[in-house]
Amino acid sequence: MEDIKKIRNFSIIAHIDHGKSTLADRLIQECGALQDREMKEQVLDNMDIERERGITIKAQTVRLKYRHDDGETYTLNLIDTPGHVDFSYEVSRSLSACEGSLLIVDSSQGVEAQTLANVYQAIDADHEIVTVLNKIDLPASEPERIKKQIDEVIGLPGEEAIEVSAKTGAGIKSVLSSLVEKLPPPQGKIDNQLKAMLIDSWFDPYLGILILVRIVDGKLFKGQKIRFMSTGSSYTVDSLGIFTPKILNVESMGPGEIGFFTASVKTVADCNVGDTITDDKKPTNSMLDGFKPSIPVVFCGLFPTDSADFSDLKDALEKLSLNDSSFSFEAETSAALGFGFRCGFLGLLHMEIIRERLTREFNLELISTAPSVVYEIKKVNGEIVKLHNPADLPDANNLDHIQEPWITATIFVPDQYLGSVLTLCTERRGEQVDLSYVGTRAMLVYKLPLNEVVFDFYDRLKSVSSGYASFDYQFDKYRLGDLVKVSILVNGDQVDALAMITNKDHAEKRGRAICLKLKELIPRQLFKVALQAAIGSKVIARETISAVRKDVTAKCYGGDISRKRKLLEKQKAGKKKMRQFGQVEIPQNAFFEALKI
């Protein structure tokens, strides 16, 4: 068991790509936790998707041994967190397991939207903060200017920021000693009843369900009978361990420590992040505060391509949700796509990642529908319903009103792109709240309907600012909207999976755009296909896909047969997977792509 006074727990936080995972590499190396030959870049990003995309998705914990100048050896528990706004829930959970934060600011870029968002979270969590300026090896690095920014924009003492390069390793030693000197050790008494916070859990094919905890009070040990306080179920601890980053088994853990245990937990439902774990025989009587539950803001339908895979999909969703409590799912049926699930996510990237993990880790082929936000509708009879699927919108005569979610967005953008960003926000029905300057960069605060943001706002923002703008948002509130449902008809039949809810003034334009997009996406068939967008029974846009006119081999004799058959084979293989809808074949990706307009 560790001496509590010599423990320092901290989360590494920053805007996306400012170098959190790379700095973690250097800290691991400096403490000698991994041999050089075991090292690779961003060693903590161990999921394939993380490595391919070069971003962190899951927070990772590592315990390091650090010998300080005072001759003592300290235990550092570091948590590397993701930077992308969709994964801010990972950040907030990590923060509540620590007493301090290591804030990184890229010295060639300065304070960005998620720098602010994350540092405010850390301040809210009463964290001590050690600030570092990273990437000082870059020619574009301007440490002095950025220190001023930290003073002015964040309100932290910029002059105390340590200049480092996570690439070359410069400044790493002073980071370690600052952490020891500035961050407080954890509180907590070993003699109290066990109180441990469930930070995360995931499924390991060899070890079963792993549960990551932060011990607050008391002691957790092998063979102990523990209890999950929210469900009341109890288990016996099979094994305990920490990540160094390799798994190292330990016999027990005391206050301030972060590590995992296994207890042959069978039900996913027992693993609620934020839950308090206590000793079953000598339970504590006060639960920890836990976390604010995360609320999914975008929803889409996920359907197995092969309807026989429905229960596999259900299984996979359960397993994934063990590891990611921030998404939700419930069964759904669609006339066009069959049985599937309506799933909720924290944002588009989150949705993309889950979809990709389902295909890669569980070998499932999926069709997904376009994302939609959650509307709040009031029916004529006074009933209020959260609407997760546009297709379920009641008839106009049953509907009193629709409310839509609005967000508060913070955007940082260099002066020269301000004009285009303002135009973009206005197009998206944005309302300006504030415009101030951080050096030559504008900091914009806008209220925006989430509906206008989910699909491609981030991409558009990046493209109108040549990649320089950064963006963060928070839910604001529901507001009354002038909204209508646009249905899509293919050869006269409504396709439920393509329905969308949109602002009335934009309905016609969007209806036209969808029809045009579908015309591109749906290949020609043996007959004409009529595409229509309608509000109620009123058609607002239409397009026609003309029939295939030529697809034949003019001459085919004895010598041509093998070649010809192989060509057909190739064409058949290259053909997109189709969904039969009435007489019409619709490519599976169309259900998602059509609404990307």
């Binding site: 295939v548 697809d551 034949v552 081999t553 007489q583």
Partner: protein, 388 residues
Amino acid sequence: MNKLGIYIHWPYCISKCPYCDFNSHKIQNYDPNEWLSAYENQIKYFKEYLVSQNLKNIKLSSIFFGGGTPSLMPPKLVEKVLLFINKLFNFDKNIEITLESNPTNLELNKISDFKSAGVNRVSLGVQGLNDTDLKYLGRLHNASETFIVLDLMQKIINNISVDLIYALSCQNLEIWNHELQTFLKNFSIKHLSAYQLVIEKGTKFYHLFNRGELKTVSDNLYKEFYFSTKNILKDNKFDQYEISNFSKPNFFSKHNTIYWKSDNWIGIGPGAISRIWNNKKERIEFENFKKPETWLKNCLQNKINLKKILTINLDASEQEILMMGLRLNEGVDLNKLQHRTFLNNDAMLHIQKQGIINIRKNKLMINENYFNVHDYIVRKIIDNYLSS
């Protein structure tokens, strides 16, 4: 499946046409005796194979000299090849013996000799009906020479088939219609193959097309060309029996029908392919070496070599039967598709309801109004293709 045909490939031409992807080469020095021996050796080879499969009594329905330009062959060579075949095979009494020919005076002068050698049908490469089209196609003959040759040749060989290539970007639909009408009025031909121009990989046209220097007609116009040609031929008492083939009653090509009905044929000569149903009811594919010199060398040995011999797997084989059979107006005999696990019944039902395909007397056929999308339909009703 009891029909048998022999295809004999002659790979040389006066010059290479820019659209042509056949195994044809500009003519060079050759030794007719060597060619005769090589042909004979290979014919013998297949005869032995047939005997080994208990097929020695099968009657020969057709022989086809194709190319290249087999009308450039010395008539003596054709005669000796036919004599040799005659020694080894039983000819059906109505055997069809076709020779592909260019429509020039050179051929006209040889036609009687070909006839006495045994040729009873000529497939004449007319290709274009006016000088502009012929030039566009890179042909060496002009229209008036072609028409004179055709006229005179018809007096010697009654059964003449004409090949045409149309739907060229230099053509105008009305003018083409008119020219075709006039042509059919002036010449009482028995058979016509009308191909819409295909830009084949590896041809000169292919490269020009990729560089944007050659245009093709739009899909829409392509379709109009096809159906108006089809209608004109119908009006002139031709029966369409295949996507691109039309004949006067009883003058359909027996040889090519072997391909479409997936019967047996032996392919002799460079690059030629054979397909034979063996005694285990498996379909065997034989492929010859493509380069004329390579083929020749390998067939002049005592024990001849082929490039490839393989058994086509059952699925692939039935898929071929379907794909080829659906090219015929009469459709494909479903009795030949015993296995048919690859058929997508849902898709078939869909398009059958719409009248795009029909099933009558156990034959599956494409409605001829949809011949312009034959490949699309085949892809749609074949669930998955398996490579052989």
